[in-house]
């Protein structure tokens, strides 16, 4: 098992962000982490990436407690880019190479070249969408075991969205899993194996997309609207 959560809880003062999450994730899967705003998606991702510490319960990645060893195998794309505006593409690539042993410069430059992004380009001259693509390329150029993508397709145009989806498929590997948090479900539905739905910090559903279509006769998007109807 790649990820195991047992009775995982995270509280911020009085607020319960994650409530008794029990979750197992296998290798070689692409998983959608779905839930309305404020349901705990980002909190869960941040606990898995080691940016937040759990309040109680257990959570392991590759049988290891969250820490330096798990950070080596987890590649995380945050909601907002953290790269400095003054840097050039080459500088951020070097930065990643320096930081992560499993980073492949070759993969990154290959993908950047296909988008006509040059090593000398500065981040501050790029559009929001291009910056997001650069960040995604960096994150996907690692040979990680777990990729955590927090809202990778929000705020980019449909063509860029297709590119991002193709990149995720193209980098698929049997040994690794990808967790994508999003509320733009219909855009990613085709590439998902499984869906995790959370609501008020509780896990309400963890099923394969085929199961959902078989059992409910509807798309994940339609089911989501039903489960989370306001």
């Amino acid at each position: 098992m790649l990820v195991e959560c047992k009775n995982l809880c995270k509280t911020y003062g009085e607020t319960i962000a994650l409530n008794n999450i029990n979750l197992n994730i296998e290798r070689g899967r692409i998983i959608g982490l779905l839930g309305p705003n404020g349901s705990g998606k980002t909190t869960l991702i941040k606990v898995l990436s080691g940016l937040l510490t759990k309040s109680s319960g257990e959570v392991t990645i590759s049988d290891k407690e969250i820490g330096i060893e798990t950070k080596k195998v987890v590649s995380y794309l945050p909601e907002r880019t953290y790269l400095s505006e003054w840097m050039t593409v080459k500088q951020v690539v070097d930065f990643f190479k320096d930081f992560y042993d499993d980073f492949s410069e070759e993969t990154a430059y290959g993908m950047l070249e296909r988008l006509n992004i040059k090593p000398g380009d500065r981040l501050k001259t790029m559009s929001k969408g291009t910056k997001e693509k650069v960040q995604l390329i960096l994150v996907m150029s690692r040979q990680a075991e777990l990729f955590l993508l927090d809202e990778p397709i929000a705020g980019v145009d449909p063509a860029a969205r297709d590119y991002i989806i193709k990149t995720i498929i193209g980098n698929y590997n049997e040994n690794a899993s990808v967790i994508i948090s999003t509320h733009l479900i219909s855009d990613v539905e085709k590439i998902l194996d499984e869906v995790i739905m959370i609501k008020y910090g509780c896990l309400v559903m963890h099923k394969t997309v085929d199961e959902i279509r078989d059992e409910h006769g509807k798309s994940v998007d339609a089911l989501f609207r039903e489960v989370f109807a306001c």
């Binding site: 498929i169 193209g170 698929y172 590439i191 085929d210 798309s219 339609a222």
Partner: protein, 124 residues
């Protein structure tokens, strides 16, 4: 031919249908080598596991076969493809007939309508 999917049935079933159609119309010919799972998945923009599942099912049905080192191929058995084409045609006929019965037509009337329709097509 582009891939297109609806939202109600499992994707692997829809992929199977579309590959069958491609084989039936000769888009993929007997003995043709298929692209890799990864390439096909990227082309259809679906999860590689889903593509893999569809291809294994088609293999089980005898429409595809794998050669251990060189990849996956369309069956070389032309009879299998003939049967496939026939069964796809039958599916369409069943659908058509059901709709005609719903509209209240009898078998005889359907036949007459069909002949007229074919006659007009030939003139056009």
């Amino acid at each position: 031919m582009p891939w297109s999917f609806d939202s109600s049935t499992p994707l692997y079933l829809q992929i199977m249908e579309q590959i069958k159609f491609r084989i039936a119309v000769g888009n993929y010919k007997a003995g043709d080598k298929l692209a890799s799972v990864r390439e096909l998945a990227a082309e259809a923009e679906v999860n590689p596991n889903t593509m893999q599942k569809a291809l294994s099912e088609l293999e089980r049905e005898g429409l595809l076969f794998t050669q251990r080192t060189s990849g996956r191929f369309v069956t070389e058995n032309s009879e299998t493809i003939t049967i496939l084409r026939k069964s796809l045609a039958n599916e369409q006929l069943d659908l058509f007939l059901k709709k005609m019965y719903n509209l209240g037509y009898t078998n005889e009337e359907v036949l007459v309508l069909l002949q007229d329709c074919i006659g007009q097509e030939e003139q056009a």
